[in-house]
């Protein structure tokens, strides 16, 4: 498998695991005045799970893929937060 393939697969797994954390994030939902799900271990498990692809790349010695994975996950993670904020925010015209 090439560097790109390793990086793409690892990034996809991490982002798929980050998505439910972001969607069900209690503080984010509270700020939008939406119902907050009861706390469980799910968030922690998903969080650690999102880091596992990085650990796998370390074990495989795929250092360039590791750096691309880290860059992709942090950039797309940030953009995901921006997107959710825009989708959840009240219309500015509404005042």
């Amino acid at each position: 498998m090439s560097t790109y393939a390793f990086a793409a697969v690892a990034s996809l797994i991490s982002l798929l695991l980050l998505l439910p954390i972001a969607l069900r994030d209690p503080k984010r939902l509270r700020s939008l005045r939406r119902p907050v799900p009861s706390p469980g271990r799910e968030r922690q498990l998903l969080g650690w799970g999102a880091l596992l692809p990085g650990a796998a790349l370390v074990l495989l010695g795929q250092w360039p893929a590791l750096l691309i994975w880290l860059g992709t996950v942090t950039t797309l993670g940030w953009l995901l937060v921006q997107l959710l904020a825009r989708l959840g925010a009240p219309s500015p015209r509404a005042g």
Partner: protein, 531 residues
């Protein structure tokens, strides 16, 4: 979460804010030009492509090309030569000797040439010091402009390097203090509030971008400072202490390639054979060749390879320049592999993001962009918090000037570059003039208009227009059209034309929106500044 007393938290927050306030605008400039510099080579490929894409820069016949060029060069410049592909994959070769200028600073003097590797013919020849040779360079001018601004803010050595080194340290300080004072790093990773509480909204915008960007803020700040201080201070200091000020001698010793001196004239070995040999030793592509003492018995040829698939370190091989015999594989420092040498070598890929082609560069581009966003949102947050104090209102205007005016000023030099290059004129001076004039005009807009929102929208709109028209400017200045570029396989030309057009449209779209979702904080700040 790091637990700190309220007092300590307050002190660290002050360090975080003040370090950014004093250097934040310059830091933003360095980061933004760094973002552009990630694609400096592609900027050259886009602005100055050859008629056909180059499949192999060092194809058979390179030997004849270099040999014929060497025969036209004064032998005093045979002390050293390097050759590597640059804009459009032109082969750039520079025969030179080392000397010191009037101030005792080391410089190179010699003869440079650009070749078309497809036809293996000379495109251009320039002579003089390394500075003279660079001043006459047109093909790489756009990319070099960004790199020079990023590396030393176009200031003379060593002041520019020292300043960018300090800016790197300021970024490191801001990243560390930001990490320490942020009490709920993980808990607030997804919390970006967009409502009436303007300060909260501005704070979240800055903190969220900063948190996600934190690992790379450390990496880029550390490696950037390392490069700046290493060149400006580290090398001269070590040379002064150990080598009596002889930087050349120091570099030769540390790099570990000091050939035993033998001035006996000797024929130069066949480069095509050495290139074929080195390609049999690794699957990495050949990137850069240096030749020490061309035409002497002690001549050494060093071949630097790109990063092999799946690696962050590229191999280097050394040959005898007189016999063409393979001598040894060489680590970047010394002659034996070492942890220090590997760490030294890692600085490059970690800072430049060039270790895995266009995808790693794209990731570094995005990360740099996020870093610039963190810097500018931090400054906006600072001024918003102090909006009642008149003195800080100038910083609010300066933030708009640099934050939105600098991208416009960076796009503007292309409007001097393309027509002047087409007319066969020198481009570097006029590019700098246009950059400065647009920067001054942007300052006029930032301070001249009462409404900061309007100033921001005008600057963003002009940036969008400047980017959107770049492909047309390239075409009107004699650049390859899309059908020709597509047929010839000049993919970088097509890709960057599209990227500039899309970037320009996004800027125009953003500038035309009257009610941005996150405009509340901006409007509050504007109201205070305009009062």
């Amino acid at each position: 979460m790091i637990k700190l007393s309220q007092e300590r938290n307050k002190s660290l927050l002050a360090v975080h804010g003040w370090s950014a306030v004093f250097l934040g605008l310059l830091l933003y400039a360095v980061i933004l030009t760094g973002v552009a510099s990630v694609f400096a080579k592609e900027l050259g490929d886009w602005s100055s492509p050859l008629a056909q894409p180059v499949a192999d820069s060092f194809r058979p016949g390179t030997d004849r090309m270099l040999r014929e060029f060497a025969a036209t060069v004064d032998p005093q410049y045979h002390e050293e030569m390097f050759v590597f592909p640059r804009a459009g994959d032109r082969l750039y070769a520079f025969f030179h000797k080392h000397e010191t200028d009037e101030d005792g600073k080391p410089r190179e003097r010699g003869v440079a040439a650009e070749f078309d590797p497809n036809t293996q013919t000379l495109i251009e020849r320039r002579e003089g010091t390394d500075e003279d040779v660079d001043a006459g360079d047109r093909a790489n001018a756009l990319g070099d402009f960004m790199v020079e601004l990023h590396v030393r803010l176009h200031l003379p050595n060593p002041w520019g390097l020292l300043l960018t080194g300090v800016l790197g340290l300021a970024m490191l300080v801001a990243a560390i203090t930001g990490f320490v004072v942020h009490r709920h790093l993980i808990k607030e990773l997804f919390t970006l509030r967009r409502h009436k509480e303007k300060l909260l909204s501005a704070r979240d915008t800055h903190v969220i971008a900063g948190t996600w960007n934190l690992p790379f803020a450390f990496i880029l700040a550390f490696t950037g400072s390392y490069f700046s201080f290493g060149s400006a201070f580290g090398i001269p200091a070590v040379a002064m202490v150990v080598f009596g000020g002889d930087q050349e001698k120091m570099i030769e010793t540390v790099i570990g390639n000091p050939p035993k001196e033998d001035k006996t004239p000797a024929p130069v070995a066949d480069f095509d054979r050495m290139i074929a040999d080195v390609r049999g030793r690794t699957d990495a592509a050949l990137n850069f060749i240096t030749v020490q003492h061309w035409g002497r018995a002690d001549s050494l040829v060093t071949m630097f390879m790109q990063y092999p698939e799946g690696k962050l370190l590229g191999p280097t091989y050394v040959y005898s320049g007189a016999t063409g015999e393979f001598r040894y594989a060489k680590p970047s420092l010394g002659l034996q592999p070492s942890t220090g040498g590997a760490l030294f070598e890692l600085m490059g890929p970690l800072h430049f993001g060039n270790f895995a082609g266009v995808f790693s560069k794209a990731a570094w581009f995005a990360l740099g962009f996020a870093g610039a966003y963190v810097t500018i949102t931090g400054l906006m947050l600072w001024t918003l918090r102090r909006r009642e104090q008149r003195g800080w209102r100038h910083l609010a205007r300066a933030t708009v000037w640099v934050g939105y005016g600098l991208p416009l000023a960076l796009a503007a030099p292309a409007y001097a570059f393309f027509p002047l290059r087409a007319a066969g004129e020198l481009v570097h001076g006029p590019m700098m003039t246009v950059f400065l004039l647009v920067a001054v005009a942007a300052a006029g807009i930032a301070w001249g208009l009462r409404s900061l929102t309007l100033a921001r929208r005008i600057l963003l709109g002009l940036t969008g227009l400047a980017l959107l028209l770049l492909p047309a400017l390239r075409l009107l200045s004699g650049g390859a059209g899309w059908p020709l570029a597509f047929d010839s396989g000049l993919h970088t030309v097509l890709a960057l034309d599209i990227a500039f057009a899309v970037g320009g449209l996004l800027c125009l779209l953003s500038a035309s929106r009257r009610h941005a979702v996150n405009a509340a904080a901006d409007e509050e700040l504007d109201a205070a500044v305009e009062a």
